[in-house]
Symmetry: C2
């Protein structure tokens, strides 16, 4: 199994990350692919970097970015002041799917959250992604909650 | 309809907020009610206050805290660098339920997220809370996602 490198995403990764986000069934109509890179992404990465409770992770194989995910560390009062780890925007390059990379990414995220002292990991998955229920269940996640969204 | 005050929660609110979190079907076994206040809550409030993208809201009627909720402003790359507003730990004192206070709280949260430039509001609700689906749907939320949790 080839080694995966997990590291914080930096500005020079942006072009690759945007293409990764856009190369997705649901994402293709949501992203702005342009040259130069649209300001909205530069501002977004800056906001992520300025927040010590956000980590945008680039996943590399053979020096190439093949995946990404965002981790949020959310402090809270409830459950005796428990921190939550939240996973958002998980993407894997189409050419690298079906090889267990997603599992390794989520396992890395879980371990990272454990090290940060989180008591719970949470994520939501679009109900129109049919494989996700099985995928996250196989990693020990339970679909105990309804995930509500409201566009503004 | 009596006026509600929405303000940032401060340390002197902690005792009331812990009781509010504990006075809940699911919350009663999760919280630590003690005098003096358990350190875990003091640390948790400090972590919330130190994160500019977290806001713990105390809701008051007649100078008394009758509800609380936590708002998280989550920066992200996806959807063209869209910010997400997330609502967590919504609680209303049992004596004040059934009067539409929850609606007014969520509406306040939505407006707050709009002012902060969020493009989406999201939350998850335990599937064992039977009234929540109807409640959030009536506010315009769509249950489009599965909410997965994994305890560490």
């Amino acid at each position: 199994m080839p080694a995966l490198i997990f590291r914080k995403a930096v500005q020079t990764d942006l072009r690759t990350l945007i293409l990764l986000l856009a190369d997705d069934e649901l994402g293709q109509n949501r992203e702005t692919v342009s040259d130069p890179i649209a300001d909205c992404y530069i501002r977004a990465l800056k906001a992520i970097e300025e927040d010590q409770n956000q980590l945008l992770v680039a996943v590399l194989e053979d020096d190439q970015i093949i995946g990404c995910m965002q981790l949020s560390y959310i402090p809270g009062l409830s459950r005796s002041g428990m921190w939550r780890g939240q996973i958002e925007s998980v993407r894997i390059a189409p050419s690298h799917r079906g090889r267990g990379i997603g599992h390794r990414m989520i396992e890395w995220a879980i371990e990272n959250f454990r090290e940060r002292g989180c008591g719970l990991v949470q994520l939501t998955s679009d109900k129109t992604r049919p494989d996700a229920l099985r995928f996250y269940s196989s990693l020990g996640f339970a679909p105990t909650h309804e995930g509500f969204k409201l566009s503004l």
